[in-house]
Amino acid sequence: MALAGRTAMWWARLRSPCPSAAPLCLPPWLLAWPAACERLYSSRGKEKLDMSTYPVENIRNFSIIAHVDHGKSTLADRLLEITGTIAKTAHNKQVLDKLQVERERGITVKAQSASLFYNHKGVNYLLNLIDTPGHVDFSYEVSRSLSACQGVILVVDANEIDLKHADPERVEKQIEKLFDIPIDECVRISAKQGTNVEKVLKKIIEKIPPPQCNTSDPLKALVFDSTFDHYRGVIANIALFGGEIQKGHKIVSAHTKKRYEVNEVGILTPYEHPTHKLYAGQVGYVIAGMKEVTEAQIGDTLFLYKQPVEPLPGFKSAKPMVFAGMYPVDQTEYNNLKSALERLTLNDSSVTIHRDSSLALGAGWRLGFLGLLHMEVFNQRLEQEYNMSVILTAPTVPYKAILSSAKLIKEYGKAEITIINPAQFPDKISVSQYLEPTVLGTIVTPQEYIGKIIVLCQDRRAVQKDMLYIDEHRVMLKYLFPLNEIVLDFYDALKSLSSGYASFDYEDAGYQAADLIKMDILLNGNPVEELATVVHNDKAYATGKLLCERLKDAIPRQLFEIAIQAAIGKKIIARETLKAYRKNVVAKCYGGDITRRMKLLKRQAEGKKLMRKIGNVEVPRDAFIRVLKREPEK
């Protein structure tokens, strides 16, 4: 196990999509680093590798696990450099984070694999690194990656061992106490500076066992991830638990029973590089003419035609915690959005998707996400990778209602229903009890922030379950939270009141009874469907008031007065008034200089086309999500 120093956290915005390769003593096929735009063809015209020189005992499959921002991707960059997988330049930042959104936000969203070649004591090893996301929203990706590994590197931030306020001794003790990992197993490294990173590689070879499998067995390949290529169809990432696979093989999916012929196999370096074959214990990719988005089920097992094997245990499917409606801005875009969603959900199968429609917003979908960050990232990927602009409604958690009305029970065919759309929230008269989902949250924080954190948790209706001093400085708190209290901005609030030191993680803790009501937000009397929300009765007034206040700031002044109201049923519980513009005309067009003025006006005219109209009120499309998410203090 390795102990990593905090590494380059000033995530430089992407300078170029790929670092330029410097001449190094590398295998020739690695010298030409494929540019992102050439990626589609990257596996063409390259010499195929012979993977038979890496028997099972010389293979290590491992993952790096860390909290968000602790430097995992930087360590991955260094490992890639040291093993010569990528050229060593100053530009290697987040090499495995291929998505624009990952680089912009400095986070890993999508697990990535890279095969490293490393000579240790005269033996050539194949090290398969599977990078994983750090944010709690993406723990599902992590569990998928782990199923292909025999060991992990745990990266813990000791606050920059190369800086004077680093405290590796204390962190080593914490690790020993929390995880029972002996102190002498830890490696102190600075991935940013490359200190001790070689040692990590040696530890990987010494401590992580090779995969237990045999090339002479029949083919047994686990699909642990997949991507979609517009030209080549599905690219499935596989881990071979037995046998071998090569072009021309006829394979069968244990899940769908469908038959395919293998077109190409290869390893990820981290870009696809074709090989003659893949052998047991190895990790790579397969392209086999899968065209449908549903064909490459994550967790599926592939085997040879007429040589069936016992399928590997599949994954527990990701459980969406947050639901939101998604609609095309313009209904004519419905089919384009549909196809973009299908393709994106293949790369992110943790998103659930149901057709939905609304009077105000037309035909659309209700999507389930793992968390709010996940939702934002998904939305950003839609915009960046598919050039789609969408209307997103307020996120909601999956509530339940136990119906008392015989008519409704008959209608639904059951007494207990799950509500993922506030528009379908049943009235109190026909419900005997509402239930809300809860999670058990774990907070680890330096003790000086305990007071503020307890107040925050109480404010979120949380119940304390446990409190443990990990050492003389750090405390671990466990709280039972209503899920809806943490999905929106709890993590941000926690980070900001603890100067970023407190960490947060949560797990599902079932449902509890709750006094829930549906709240509408009205603009000049017209309901804003995006903002309809289910709230706890105790919080309705405060939430309504807050939403109205924030909306007042988010909606630009218009030619008429705008009443912004929060309503429960017909009862108005909060109101703000946005006054009409009485004067808005520039005083002077100086000396005939109207070019700048015209540019501004035309930009405003363009903006008008993207406004969402509610009654006669024009609202910028991002206003609602800004309202729901607390803006960082300016």
């Binding site: 002044r557 218009q558 030619l559 006054k579 513009y581 009485r582 004067k583 808005n584 005309v585 520039v586 005083a587 002077k588 067009c589 100086y590 000396g591 005939g592 200089d593 109207i594 070019t595 003025r597 015209m598 006006l601 035309k602 405003q604 005219a605 903006g607 008008k608 086309k609």
Partner: protein
């Protein structure tokens, strides 16, 4: 003849291309057109703006293209202004100059000899009718009676005095060099020399200014002024000392509602004093009603003038002819560092209206003028749609609005009704706009919020223009031997000059 047919079709398809610059009547072509194809008539008229870029001191709110230098080589600047005026007038093939405006900077710091030289250059290159408006912007600190008399002798017949405020504390806040008393003396001296032709500028919405203070100041100004007042709401411009103090929190930003109250109150006071509110920030009296047919009873001037005469037959009175030419989207030629222009450069084969900006920095500008006759730094061909957008954004600032005739000059095939019929009605129902026999214009309420109306109007124009507008003119067949199309080079937008 094929070539001829194509050119005629092109001219019809791109009405805005050469149309707006054209004189109402057929103007005499100045030179025989090259080739067999007759050139469109050279535009006959334009106004001329001359920029004097120097000041003694920079005001705290000003972000204009001005320079404070220890010594101005006036002879050199004068020579360059003269040369550039000659070059650009020749380029435009303008026959008649409707007005000249010396702005800045502080043009009253220039010597009357410089004004004479520029005016002589204008008169040498085009016709400047006797009595054509020649305005000079003047600062109260550089306007002794003797200097003013010098300017008058040089040919200036209208003065625009930057009074800005009649309160010494406010003047200091604005970084002005003069006191209220000096401003008062300057206006009185100017009125002696330019009776009925003196305008004053006032600023409102200063940080910390109350409604009471503003109305007091305006009352004092009304006692002092002649027949023209410009009231400008202070705009905090990026990079100015005043904006930095307000945005930094050292000075209060005036509340929106207070600004609206100041504007409304001022408007009411000026109407009561007999002024016509003829543009967002401009007021004039002893002028006619803008509406040719039939006078609107609701319009304030119908109460003032018992004999409402059709607008076009009236002399301009105290209205600023020069500024009206901007708002009416006439041609104007900008001379001097950073000056803007809008004209068709017929003299170099252009047949489309261009947006032109002279180089900003005086030294660089002078070098350019000395080497090639003018210091144009940027020229962009305006598409017919862009021209209409400017017609709209500027024309609606005036009380006369956009007449059908003017709209038709820029858009012969798509009438005001065709564009603004539907939402125009919506806006009309809400009381912001009027579309009638006189044209399209703002109501009093609409004028105050014009910048909120314009984006919608521009959207509407773009929508209607798209499908209805005639497509691009058919190009000449390859090797068809048509005369080179004048605009094709200019159409590239930016071009090395």
């Amino acid at each position: 003849m094929a070539a001829r047919g194509w050119r005629l079709a092109a001219a019809a398809a791109r009405p805005g291309g050469g149309g707006p610059g054209r004189a109402p009547g057929p103007g005499p072509a100045s030179e025989p057109a090259p080739g067999p194809v007759p050139q469109p008539a050279a535009p006959a008229a334009a106004s001329v703006y001359v920029h004097w870029p120097y000041c003694c001191k920079r005001c705290s709110y000003c972000n204009f293209n001005t320079y404070v230098v220890p010594a101005v080589d006036e002879a050199a600047v004068r020579a360059c202004l003269v040369r550039e005026a000659q070059t650009l007038l020749r380029l435009s093939r303008v026959k008649s100059v409707t007005s000249v405006f010396f702005g800045g900077g502080t043009p009253s710091l220039a010597s009357p000899g410089t004004i004479t030289a520029v005016l002589e250059a204008v008169m040498g290159a085009a016709h400047l009718p006797a009595g054509a408006e020649v305005t000079l912007e003047a600062n109260p600190s550089s306007t002794t009676t003797a200097r003013l008399a010098g300017f008058k002798a040089a040919g200036v017949n209208r003065l625009s005095i930057g009074v800005q405020s009649l309160d010494d504390v406010e003047l200091r806040l604005l970084g002005r060099e003069h006191t209220a008393a000096e401003a008062q003396a300057a206006v009185e001296a100017a009125r002696q020399l330019f009776p009925g032709r003196t305008s004053i500028d006032l600023l409102f919405g200063l940080p910390g200014q109350s409604l009471g203070a503003w109305t007091q100041g305006l009352k004092a100004a009304l006692g002092l002024c002649d027949d023209h007042i410009s009231l400008y709401q202070l705009t905090l411009e990026r990079g100015t000392a005043l904006a930095a103090r307000v945005w930094g929190g050292a000075l209060p930003a005036p509340p929106q509602d207070l600004l609206a109250d100041m504007y409304q109150t001022a408007r009411t006071m000026l109407l009561a004093a007999g002024f016509r509110h003829y543009e967002v920030s401009n007021f004039a009296r002893k002028v006619g009603c803008p509406y040719a047919v039939p006078p609107m009873l609701c319009h304030p001037c119908s109460r003032l003038s018992p004999h409402v005469t059709p607008y076009h037959t009236l002399p301009q009175g105290a209205l600023s002819t020069h500024n009206l030419s901007y708002w009416r989207a006439e041609q104007y030629i900008g001379v001097g560092p950073g000056a803007h222009g809008r004209f068709v450069p017929h003299g170099e084969g252009g047949c489309s209206r261009e947006a032109r900006v002279q180089m900003l920095e005086p030294i660089a500008w002078m070098r350019a003028v000395q080497s090639r006759g003018h210091g144009t730094g940027k020229r962009v061909v305006l598409s017919p749609l862009e021209q209409l957008e400017e017609v709209l954004a500027l024309g609606l600032r005036t009380d006369e609005g956009i007449t059908h005739k003017r709209w038709g000059r820029f858009s012969p095939h798509l009438s005001l009704e065709a564009v603004f019929g539907a939402p125009g009605q919506a806006l009309q129902q809400q009381g912001w706009m009027v579309l009638d026999g006189g044209g399209l214009r703002c109501t009093e309420r609409g004028l105050a919020v014009l910048d909120s109306l314009l984006p919608d109007l521009l959207c509407q124009l773009q929508r209607r223009w798209g499908p209805t507008a005639p497509g691009p003119a058919p190009g000449p067949a390859p090797g068809g031997g048509t005369a080179p199309r004048g605009s094709s080079a200019a159409r590239t937008g930016l071009r090395a000059l």
